[in-house]
């Protein structure tokens, strides 16, 4: 029998703490596949953030640093400046990156830090139990927007990829979705590009991945994928927002 798909070497052989159907697991797998395919396992250093992916370092068989809430791009900057030959990636959720860590992500992009950022956008705070995220959709109910997000008092969802695509220092900014196999495949290609860019010294790359949180959305995993497709993609259009320097 010829292998078509096997478990990536760069994943540790443990059961993750993620809820059933959580697309964090898909994102992890795609990153691990990328590390394997690019042959960079021995020189990759990951940065875990605060959020559901706080234990990411348990699941990747590479060196890892766990960062304070929102600060992963700064930590990654510190690592990369000491070890420019290493491949450094930060893995952050929407609360971490788009709320408390907004300054760090924008300025890492401004500096054109030669790092890769994987940004999980699931429109909610998972770790702390389903509170409103900066990416929560208008009208979406969460424990802190129990009547639905009201733009009048709670503002509008923040669009990180669009925002960062205006930053000259950013080299590659793209948004993908993990709601079906075809999109997962596209996301994989984007992630691979984001790591390849770093290997080639091209600078800052960020891949935003639309993800589900079936537990806090209160849905089955399959319904969550459907909800993502129907509600998130219209608000967060997919695509590569920036490839290459300038503008």
């Amino acid at each position: 029998m010829n292998p078509v798909y096997t478990r990536p070497k760069s994943l540790t052989n443990v059961v993750t703490h993620y809820c059933p159907g959580c697309t964090h697991g898909i994102a992890h797998r795609l990153v691990a596949e990328t590390i394997d395919e690019l042959g960079i396992q021995g020189r990759t250093i990951g940065v875990a953030s605060v959020g559901c992916s706080v234990f990411a370092y348990n699941y990747f068989d590479v060196d890892f640093q766990q960062a304070a809430h929102g600060r992963a791009p700064a930590v990654a900057t510190g690592i990369k400046r000491v070890r420019p030959e290493s491949i450094v990636f930060a893995y952050q959720g929407d609360g971490d990156l788009a709320s408390i860590g907004m300054a760090e992500i924008v300025h890492a992009a401004v500096r054109g830090e030669n790092i890769t950022v994987i940004f999980i956008n699931n429109a909610i705070y998972g770790m702390t139990g389903g509170q409103m995220a900066p990416t929560t959709l208008v009208g979406q109910k969460t424990t802190t927007s129990p009547f639905g997000r009201d733009p009048g008092t709670q503002g509008y969802p923040v669009k990180i990829s669009e925002l960062l695509s205006t930053v000259k220092g950013a080299y590659y900014v793209a948004r993908f979705s993990l709601h079906n196999p075809a999109n997962v495949q596209r996301a994989k290609q984007g992630i691979k590009k984001a790591f390849q860019n770093q290997i080639e010294g091209k600078g800052f790359s960020l891949v935003e991945l639309l993800s589900t949180c079936s537990t806090n959305w209160g849905m089955t995993p399959q319904n969550a994928l459907k909800w993502l497709e129907e509600n998130m993609i219209p608000e967060y259009p997919l695509g590569e927002f920036k490839t290459g320097e300038g503008e």
Partner: protein, 71 residues
């Protein structure tokens, strides 16, 4: 018989994302529980021949449970 699609059933959380994408509808959940307390997904031996090795199930699996082979 060599299996075309193999499940690491101990790691499965029965999220059913694989079931949702299988074009041949051959993935099922076991009635027994695994060590994690979930009904793990599997393809019955008699359906292994029906598998077309498309690996959509593996691509959607959040827990890297599934490995796929082609004869």
């Amino acid at each position: 018989m060599e299996k075309r699609v193999r499940f690491n059933e101990d790691h499965c959380k029965s999220c059913e994302l694989c079931i949702g994408v299988c074009p041949k509808k051959i993935i099922r959940l076991r009635t027994e529980l695994n060590r994690l307390g979930y009904h793990p997904a599997f393809v019955p031996d008699e359906d292994q021949e029906k598998c077309i090795s498309c690996a959509l199930c593996a691509r959607m699996c959040p827990d890297a449970v599934i490995e796929v082979f082609r004869p």
